[in-house]
Symmetry: C2
Subunit: 140 residues, 2 copies
């Protein structure tokens, strides 16, 4: 069905984030949000919407990427509780949010999704944060 | 650290749900909520808080249980978009929400978590829903 299409990250996801690189067949994005250390994984699979649209190998690659970024977020990010979510109610392209939460953060203890408008970083701060996370995630 | 403790589902999760059974080392709960077909998986691992507190085998078992319930939710549940989340901001015990959403549902397109108070089923309706999902999930 999608055989002729090249993979591309959804334009809305791309607009709200900075690309860090790729990991085991997944795009790794830094969500452009001041208040949280927030990554998004997007499997490079044309047409995937649900987790189980991925074949077994793609699922294992996503799991490996998820573990890689989750452990480094926990080690180096602000906060101490991972929140992981695959919703896709707005952007249908399969993507997985992985972010760190802290007791008392703006949305605590509710979810960050739908809580409040995104608070973007400045262009310079976003570039700095992206460079830092590329290094911490060994995506250079 | 937790070697002497027996596994038990967190009391708050248990109070808000009906146990359906177990699947590949995970408790399967039907969340007691009228508006959504909503399951919760709880790995039977004492002290687990984050996804990667599970060892490789436990992760694979959780993934297998997740696939099993997700596919049957999509096939038999109300709605057409899966929402999968592991948050744990309130209840720390590792648990994964798997539910179906529909465009225009009460929380659409935001997350269900933190949206509004739970609307419980009657005792009879909960027992009926639990029996139906036990059969559909082959947990009898």
């Amino acid at each position: 069905m999608h055989g002729d299409q090249a993979f591309a990250v959804d334009a809305r996801l791309a607009a709200d984030s900075c690309r860090l690189g790729q990991l085991f067949g997944n795009e790794v994005l830094l969500f452009n949000e001041q208040r949280y250390d927030w990554l998004v994984l997007v499997p490079q699979v044309v047409g995937a919407v649900e987790l189980f649209d991925l074949n077994r190998t793609q699922q294992q690659q996503l799991a490996a990427a998820l573990e890689h970024v989750a452990l480094r977020l926990q080690q180096h990010g602000r906060g101490d509780k991972l929140n992981i979510g695959a919703l896709g109610n707005v952007v249908r392209q399969l993507h997985v949010h992985v972010l760190l939460r802290t007791e008392g953060d703006p949305a605590w203890p509710g979810p960050v999704w739908g809580h409040s408008p995104r608070q973007a970083l400045s262009t310079e701060a976003l570039a700095q944060a992206a460079a830092r996370w590329r290094q911490l995630l060994q995506l250079d």
